[in-house]
């Protein structure tokens, strides 16, 4: 490799990015002010290590990595499964732990047993479809929403929802509960296939250092 290339890392905006930058600081990588919430900069460069960070919306992270615009991405397992792109999934970072669940009012439980055609609202149509069609063999109508999914059963748009549950407090406040569990989730590190081959040494070293740091906490 003649000229020096940056290793570009796409982070999911929000808590996941915060936890990840903290982890990088712990292994001695200066994250170049990316933690500063007030900044309007989009990209942060660590010249000394040849690293670049940027923040993106969750569902876009696999896209950036798939096309090689980022070599590495940090993103939730839910997004990886939902976007279903060909990526290397190399590390379970352990934080951002939560569950993908079917939720609704307690009275909706009966719909999940019978063969009734029900409506399911979700931000994750692929995961929901896979769960109902392939694992439960139940025909349902899936409605894609972009936020405040809990609203759907309350106003009568859908009988149940498929969504991420962390503590369950939003559900309880709105009279909903977890009816079935679909998947366990946590933050993952994904790598572009080409980058993994072309920059194997640097990426493997980074993975090893992160893995060692993570295993300290267990």
């Amino acid at each position: 490799m003649s000229q020096k290339r940056y290793l570009t890392i796409a982070l999911t905006k929000g808590r996941l990015a915060h936890d990840t930058l903290e982890l990088f600081e712990r292994i001695g990588v200066n994250t170049a002010g990316a933690m500063d919430k007030k900044t309007r900069k989009l990209i942060f460069t660590n010249e000394e290590l040849g690293l670049r960070f940027f923040l993106a919306k969750g569902p876009d992270v696999p896209t950036y990595v798939y096309y090689g615009a980022a070599d590495i991405g940090i993103v939730g397992r839910d997004t990886i499964i939902e976007e279903n792109k060909k990526l290397y999934e190399v590390l379970d970072l352990g934080y951002g732990k939560c569950r993908m669940c079917v939720c609704g009012p307690a009275s909706a439980r009966k719909y999940l047993e019978g063969g009734d055609q029900i409506r399911v609202a979700t931000k994750y149509p692929n995961i929901a479809k896979d769960y109902f069609y392939r694992r439960k063999n139940q025909t349902v109508e899936i409605i894609k929403l972009n936020g405040s999914i809990e609203l759907a059963p309350i106003v009568g748009l859908a009988e149940v929802i498929v969504d991420i549950v962390e503590t369950g407090s939003t559900l309880r406040e709105n009279g909903l509960e977890v009816l079935e569990e679909v998947l366990d989730l946590s933050a993952r590190m994904v790598v572009n296939q080409v980058s993994m081959k072309m920059q194997n040494d640097r990426i493997t070293e980074l993975i090893t250092r992160l893995r060692n740091e993570l295993s300290k906490n267990i």
Binding site: Y67, G68, N84, K86, Y88, E89, L91, V194, M198, N200
Partner: protein, 335 residues
């Protein structure tokens, strides 16, 4: 006169080519064709439309729902070819006398895959490639890999990696593990995504022997340059795995002799959803595209599907991926 917009546009995933970009592309394809000729390959043309059976799931190629399908007058299912290898294998089984083997055939043309995902990927894409039919040896494998390096160099690329694996290493482990077909498929996908914690999760609940589990979990990490052969040997439990490693070692020696070893690395976790591969398997990677620019491997059982068993190895080059990576790397590729 009002012209409806619809007829002015090509359908999604199809495109017009003209002017300088077409000239440049033709020049590039000419240089690649010259490489084929210099290795002693001669052209073959197969039809764009084939019977569905040529690409069916027993042969294990493109998933059925991604094929363009239609019917002939007698109600037979026809498809637009999604890749060339089964077509060329069919033609080789049909037309040549035993004395013609080993055959060295080259092809070029469009392939059609109706992939549903919104990934900006073309549905009609141009492929060039070669098949070496009738020889099962490390020399034949190395010839195809050397040709792959030579054609990528001829395209103008300077930085690329051909990553080579051997499917028997995984297949032997899968047989030993006693996993059913579905779990084997899940593990295969997890390994090819380098997801070893996922592999561990799936294997935990099964009755596979501990050393088989350990070797399977190690597979996603068994990649790198020639030094990984020793590590791979440590996990080679049976004869089949050992001979897979030995084959790759021999290929590496031959490529060293040709001065091409710096373009080649090895990856025991490289597996394919194309079931027809039976030996080496490889992908060529470069900057500027998210996907391999060329793919290939050995498929010793494919010709048997067409009534004439014969070992074979080949490579296909994706011209559209290649031109887009040349453009992104700022490498002029015209005359």
């Amino acid at each position: 006169m009002i012209i409806k917009n619809r007829v002015m546009h090509t359908p999604e995933g199809m495109r017009d080519l003209y002017g300088k970009s077409l000239q440049d592309r033709r020049a590039l394809m000419k240089r690649i064709h010259d490489v084929f000729e210099s290795f002693g390959y001669s052209d073959i043309e197969t039809p764009t439309i084939e019977y569905f059976d040529v690409f069916s799931s027993d042969i294990g190629t493109t998933p059925s729902n991604e094929l363009y399908k239609f019917f002939d007058r007698d109600g037979n299912t026809l498809v637009l070819r999604p890749d060339f290898t089964p077509s060329v294998a069919r033609a080789a089984a049909m037309h040549f006398a035993d004395s013609d083997f080993p055959l060295r055939l080259s092809y070029e043309g469009s392939t059609f895959v109706n992939s549903a995902e919104y990934q900006g990927r073309l549905k009609e894409s141009r492929q060039m490639g070669v098949e070496l039919i009738g020889e099962d040896s490390a020399e034949a494998d190395a010839e195809i890999i050397a040709l792959t390096c030579r054609m990528l160099l001829a395209s103008g690329l300077k930085e690329f990696q051909v990553s080579v694996g051997e499917v028997n290493f995984f297949k032997a482990l899968a047989d030993k593990s006693g996993l059913d077909e579905e779990s084997t498929e899940t593990v295969r996908e997890l390994i090819s995504n380098k997801n070893f914690f996922g592999v561990a999760e799936v294997l935990d609940g099964t009755k596979a022997a501990p050393e088989v589990k350990e070797a399977m979990q190690k597979l996603p990490q068994l990649f790198g340059s020639a030094e990984i052969f020793d590590a791979a040997e440590a996990f080679a439990l049976g004869k089949r795995e050992k001979s897979a490693v030995a084959r790759l070692r021999r290929i590496h020696e031959i490529l060293c002799g040709k001065g091409l070893d710096r373009y080649v690395s090895f990856d025991f976790g490289l597996l394919s959803k194309y079931n027809y591969y039976t030996g080496i398997i490889f992908s060529a990677f470069t900057y500027g595209t998210g996907e391999p620019v060329a793919r290939g491997g050995r498929y010793d059982l494919l010709l048997g599907h067409f009534g004439r068993e014969n070992p074979a190895v080949g490579v296909g080059l994706y011209i559209d991926q290649l031109t887009s990576s040349l453009i992104r790397q700022g490498i002029p590729y015209g005359r």
